[in-house]
Every structure is written in structure tokens, then in C-alpha cells.
């Protein structure tokens, strides 16, 4: 074995506190094996799982949108029924949920695209982006509906 440090060797680096590299019994520096049973929850996991949930939800939302288009294409009488349903408390509840999904798709999709380019993957950035993607949709959707009610476009 050569005496020069191997790529990624942080075993002798006093500033490295991660413990990511260990000296194996044969003397080689190898990354620590991942523990499959010792781990803790991380917000990046929530963001990742929520994006899959969001994709499922936005697929349903798109199907609802096509149904809305169908009602509109079937004329004023057919649309009146759908419009009344949309304006009912249940319809507004679904509408609010769909705006949460839409904002979640935009924020989490932006996070995913940014991470796909290899950026924002440091612990700090990944946490920040994930927190924005996880929590951001709720205040945005609330703001959206407050504005809808404030401008009189929607009323109960």
C-alpha cells in the first residue's frame, strides 16, 4: 500500500467529526458500513416521501380538472351542478386541498430539480430546501384562499 492518503480519506483529519471513514483490520481506509437499524428520521426523508404523495395527489387533481372540463363542455346546465358542488363547503375543502397539493408540487418539484443538478446537497442546504418544500405549501395555500375571500371571488 502506498503511504499517500486515499481519495476521501478523512481518518487522520482532526476536523472530520463524521466518523464516515474507518481503518479496516487489513489497514485499509474504507467508508463506515451503513447501519440499517440505527438511524433517525430526517426532514429530507419527509420531503422525498411527500413528493411521491404529491405526485399521486396531483394526478387525482388532474383527473378532477378533466372532469371539470367535461362538465364545462357539456353546457351551462351540466356546469351549474358542478359549480354548485365546487362552491359548497365540501367543494371548497377539496379546493383548498388541491391548492396545497399544487403549491407542494411547485416547491418540492423545484427542490427536486435543484438537487438533481447536484446543488443544495450539503446538510444545511438540504435541510432548508426540505423544510421549505414540506411546510411552505400550507401558508401559501392559506394566503391564496385569504386573497380569494378578500377579493370576493369566493364566499361561503
Amino acid at each position: 500500500m502506498s503511504s499517500s492518503p486515499l481519495p476521501g480519506d478523512a481518518s487522520n483529519d482532526p476536523t472530520d467529526k463524521t466518523g464516515r471513514f474507518v481503518r479496516q483490520p487489513n489497514g485499509r481506509i474504507r467508508p463506515l458500513s451503513p447501519h440499517l437499524q440505527i438511524w433517525r428520521w430526517h426532514v429530507t426523508m419527509t420531503a422525498s416521501i411527500l413528493f411521491r404523495v404529491t405526485i399521486g395527489a396531483i394526478s387525482v387533481g388532474a383527473a378532477i380538472a378533466v372532469g371539470w372540463l367535461a362538465a364545462l363542455a357539456c353546457g351551462p346546465e351540466a356546469y351549474a351542478g358542478v359549480s354548485a358542488l365546487l362552491g359548497s363547503p365540501f367543494g371548497l375543502f377539496i379546493g383548498f386541498g388541491l391548492t396545497v397539493v399544487l403549491f407542494s408540487f411547485l416547491l418540492n418539484g423545484a427542490r427536486h430539480l435543484f438537487n438533481d443538478t447536484g446543488n443544495g446537497l450539503s446538510l444545511k442546504s438540504a435541510n432548508l430546501l426540505s423544510n421549505i418544500a414540506v411546510w411552505g405549501p400550507i401558508p401559501l395555500a392559506v394566503l391564496f384562499w385569504v386573497l380569494l375571500f378578500a377579493t370576493g371571488r369566493v364566499s361561503l
Binding site: 363542455a73 430539480l113 370576493g152
Partner: protein, 134 residues
């Protein structure tokens, strides 16, 4: 499906077609970001609008075109994203193929239906089912 392997600088660039699908999914998602913002603003302006106002909105080719583009891109993205999710959790070949195939069929039908309805609304066609038998 898998043709002869392609090489770049003597390195096989992709076993089959995964890299192409990966890139297509990202391009679709990137396209959906501005389109999604446009949907947010459109929903805001159209909320509470009556039937005639909605028809006037659809009469604009820009609105109709952007809505068709949005839905087609979304269904393309959804079919690719669902494929990845299914491949992660369903491992029996027949069940996997059936799940992916049936979801693709659903998304294809939804995409075709959305184009059909939007084009009719944009052209100001008589309300359905006029023109298809009734």
C-alpha cells in the same frame, strides 16, 4: 426495447433507456414549474367566474394552448413518475407490467379527453353531446 448498446468514449452510456426516461421526467418537471405558476394565477382570476366568463377565457388561443400544454406535460410527467414509484414497490413482473400499463392507459385517456374538451371549448362548439350522436 433494448437495441444494441451505445457507447461514448468507449463507455456504455445506458444499459437500456433509463437515462432517457430520467431526463424526460426532469424536462417535463422543469416545464411544469412556470406552467404551474400560470395555473395558480389562472385559478385565482377564474375563481367564482360564471359560465360565460369561463368560455370567454377558453376562447383565447393562448389560454387554451397553455392549458393543453400543461395537462399533456403533467400526464407525461405523472406516467413516468408513477412508473418509477411502481418499480420501487412492485417486483412481480406481471403485476408490475399490469400496473404500469393500466396507469399509462388511464393517463393517455385523460390526456386525450382533456385535449378534446379544451379544443371544443376554445372553438365555442355547441355543448356536448351535440355532434356525437345525440
Amino acid at each position: 426495447m433494448s437495441g444494441p448498446a451505445k457507447f461514448k468514449n468507449h463507455v456504455k452510456i445506458s444499459e437500456r433507456h433509463g437515462a432517457g426516461e430520467w431526463l424526460t421526467e426532469r424536462v417535463a418537471l422543469a416545464l411544469l414549474m412556470p406552467l404551474g405558476l400560470w395555473v395558480v394565477s389562472s385559478v385565482f382570476t377564474l375563481a367564482g367566474a360564471g359560465y360565460d366568463d369561463l368560455l370567454a377565457w377558453f376562447a383565447s388561443p393562448l389560454n387554451a394552448g397553455l392549458l393543453i400544454l400543461t395537462l399533456l406535460t403533467l400526464f407525461l410527467f405523472a406516467s413516468l413518475a408513477w412508473k418509477v414509484i411502481i418499480e420501487d414497490y412492485i417486483h412481480k413482473p406481471l403485476a408490475k407490467t399490469l400496473a404500469i400499463g393500466s396507469l399509462n392507459l388511464v393517463f393517455l385517456v385523460l390526456a386525450a379527453a382533456s385535449v378534446f374538451f379544451i379544443v371544443r371549448l376554445a372553438l365555442g362548439s355547441a355543448p356536448l353531446p351535440a355532434g356525437i350522436g345525440a
